[in-house]
Each structure stands twice: as C-alpha cells, then as structure tokens.
Amino acid sequence: ATGDPLDPDTGSDAPDDTIVVGSQAYYSNEIIAEIYAQALENAGFDVDRQFQIGQRDAYLPALEGGEVDLFPEYTGNLLQFYDSETTATLPDEVYSELQGVLPDGLTVLDMSPATDQDSYNVTDAFSQEHGLTSLADLAGVDTELILGGAPELEERPYGPRGLSEVYGAAVQFSATGDTTVDALLEGVVNIANVFSADPRIQTEGLVTLEDPEGLFLASNVVPLVNAEVADDVADVINAVSAELTAEGLVALNVQSTVDQVSSEDIAEQWLTETGLLD
C-alpha cells in the first residue's frame, strides 16, 4: 500500500536475461519500440514487449523500478518531465541536461536525428491570409486566435501562457485532444499543437510556425534504458537511432495511419530496407 496511487504496477516481471521493451499509448512511439524489439531479437536477445503503457506517469516509475528495460523517449518532453523549470531548448543542450536529471538506474543512449516534438501549425490559407510563418508573427494577427491541443496543453509551460509570455500572443484554448488536426482543418481552431512527426502536417499541407525564441525544447527520439542493460543493448539500439531520420519517422507514421500497416510489419520492413536485419 503505497501513498501515491500513480505508482505503476505492470505486474509481469520478465526473467533477467530478457529485455523488456515498453512503449507509450501512442502509435508512433509503439512503432519505434517495435523496431527496437525486432533489432534486439535479431541480435539474439529475448524480448518481452510491454507496449502502450499509458503516459509517462505510468511507465517512468516502471523503468525506475526495473520492470521495463528499454523505452523510446523524446529528449525534450522527458527533460521537462523531470525538470519543468528547464530553459534549455537546443537539441544538444537538452540532451546533455537530460543526462543530468535522469534518476539513478536510468540512462539514455545516443539520441537520434529524428525529432517528434510539440509544434504549432496553421493551415496554408490562414498563413497566407495573415502572413504567418513564425510564432513571432502571432502577436500581430488581428483575428481571434484559438489554440487547439490535448487538454493538458492548457497547463504546459509552452501552452497559452508560454505563448503570451514569450511571443506576447494572446490565444484562447480549446481542448481538441486526438482530433486537433481535424479541428484545425474545420476551422474550429486556427492554431493546432501537432507533433512534428505527424504525417498530416504534410498530407494536409499545414504550415509549422517557426519558433525563434525556442518556446518548445527540441525533442529528439532517444532510447531510455535501465543502466544495467544499457551496455548490452547499446550497439544494437544506437545503430537503429543513427538510421532513424525525421523524414524517416514521418514515413513510418504514414504507413501506420494512411496505409494502416501494423507496427510489426512497418518495423520489419524498415529494418530490412536499412539493412539492419541480417
């Protein structure tokens, strides 16, 4: 009986010689996790998949508790989770700071060039109409700005408050959750918080507003591992990270959402193409 109900409890404790790979309840993250898993299996490891373990609140303690060994993460959001006050924004700052704040027993391997981070997007039409290309332009826009995103965005540092503090832009907030992009397209909101790797940015021709002041911290894909197994898996996983580019990640997401391919197949295909399977 612990005090904090948010402590996890992903029952199964896999035998030590197997690597437990986890993933967020986010299809893109699951694909990366699946890639890790298959790469490891190819390298002769036994792998136990604990995918879709909800939110960070759920799985980070599980990693700290050693129930999960390996987990695809994002430098920025992860750093923010441990140190919400952080001022770092550039990829390398974030990465190094992250290594500092990680609790004992947890470490990160090389970060991948692929990023999947919060970004604010507008429709092409809207950007034309108001000459919008950067968050800095928002302050000048005369029409009422409505920002759409997951409910929690309302409370995030880079949320409405961040926008007005950093860019002096006053925006309404509307919780659009998983349906943010659609809301943007339908004009229910005119600014949408979308992950940069979301294929719909391209498919729907959205304009991602630049972030000169670094409101968002860069968020590269990074493998979060249990220190004990870090060395064993480092070679295999670092190789994967090196191959995974921003565009590559988007492509993977396209296969999942547009072509509706399952993460197993996506991962296998990518690994073969990149010649990581032998």
């Binding site: 009986a1 005090g3 948010l6 996890p8 299809y27 879709q52 759920a58 509706q260 399952s262």
Partner: protein
C-alpha cells in the same frame, strides 16, 4: 475490413485478455454476493444496509470509481488490480440484490412444506431454497456478465489492456474498422457469456426447462 484481416492476431490476443479480465469480477461478484444477498433477504436491518450500499455503488460512474478506489485502498491507480476490484464491486452490487430477490422469490408454500416434512433449516437452505432461487440468481448473473464485459473496456483509460485498446488506438490512427472491431468483439463476448450462462442454467436446473425463467432483476449496465 482489410485492417481487421491484417490484425486478426492482435484482435484475438486482446479478446482473450478481455475475457480473462472479465471472468474474475463475475465469479468473485457471485461468491461475495451470496452471503450478502442472504443477509439482505434475512434481516430487515442488513437488508437496508446492503441494498443502500449496492444502490449507491451502482450509481458511481466507472471512471470515477477507478479514481476513487486507489487512495482508499492504497493500491496503484494504473494497475489491473484497480480495474478488477472496481468491476468486482459493481458485480457485487448487482448480485447482492439478485440473490436477495431470488431467495425472496422462493414460493413460501414450498418452504413451509419442506419444513413440515422434516427438513432442518440448514439442509432446507442448501437443498431447497438455494436451488429454487437459482433461476433468479442466474438471471442476475447474466446481467452482471454483460455489464462487466462492456465495463472492462474503460480500463484502457488507465492503461489496462483489453479490446478497449482498439478504441483509443483506432481513434489516434483514424481507423474506423479498428474501433468498430473493438465494439463488435466486446458485444460478441457479452452475448457469448450470456448464452453460455443460459445453457449452464438449463443443465443444472432441469426443472426450469419449458417453464419461463424469471427475467433479470435490473438493467444490464453499458460502459
């Protein structure tokens, strides 16, 4: 459709998981409800307590209960245990009432004549009252089964896997078939349980064949 065909193994896997998650609460619910129901049937005081408790419990929305239990029991919010306990509570809420009604539904004449021809109280309960209460208890159990099966899906909101996974994942990926498959399978499992229990009833209560079995005491619960 093609999504379904491509993901049959995933669906199958989740279906089994779903069934596993459903069974514990249903069984526990029945076992715990038997004594409670008997109390509710036997004494006016306990009747008030049990039925009120059941009624209140029954009114609590599932998501709210998932949140309410952990701090009270000191268990993990995100655990399967949380879901199992919550659903068991709901099951007990339904079954306690059913068992009470069931025992009350036993024909007083039969009870009297059993006593008159020399059944001891204890023996009468097990060999006469309980069997005769069977049909009504079964009806309640069928309701419980259906409601539990659909409630399990809500667990996905706190990361407990079931067919509910297809709901959230399907929404993220905009795959209608995926969500539809989840809904359909859930309904199918519910109906499967319902039919199995009905058949079970036929087997263990042959005398009810033909004559109409009493209907559920209350609405099955959607979740």
């Amino acid at each position: 459709m093609n999504w379904v065909l491509d993901n049959l193994d995933l669906i199958g896997e989740l279906t089994l998981e779903h069934i596993r998650l459903s069974i514990t609460p249903i069984v526990l619910g029945l076992v715990i409800a038997l004594p409670l129901g008997w109390l509710a049937y036997r004494f006016a005081l306990t009747k008030g307590v049990v039925l009120t408790f059941a009624g209140v419990l029954y009114t609590i929305p599932s998501l709210a209960l998932f949140i309410l239990l952990p701090p009270m029991l000191g268990i993990s919010f995100l655990s399967e245990l949380n879901v199992t306990i919550a659903l068991t509570l709901y099951a007990v809420a339904i079954m306690a009432r059913s068992v009470a009604d069931a025992l009350a539904s036993v024909d007083e004449n039969v009870r009297q004549s059993a006593t008159a021809i020399g059944f001891s109280t204890w023996r009468r309960f097990w060999t006469v009252e309980l069997p005769l209460a069977g049909p009504v208890i079964l009806a309640g159990l069928r309701v419980t089964a259906v409601s539990t099966v659909s409630l399990v899906t809500v667990g996905i909101l706190i990361g407990v896997h079931s067919l509910g996974y297809l709901f959230t994942n399907g929404l993220q990926r905009r795959i209608v078939e995926e969500v539809a498959a989840g809904v359909l399978m859930t309904v199918l499992i519910a109906l499967l349980f319902d039919v199995l229990l009905m058949l079970l009833g036929r087997v263990v209560m042959p005398w009810t064949r033909g004559s109409s079995v009493p209907r559920p005491q209350r609405e099955p619960v959607g979740a």
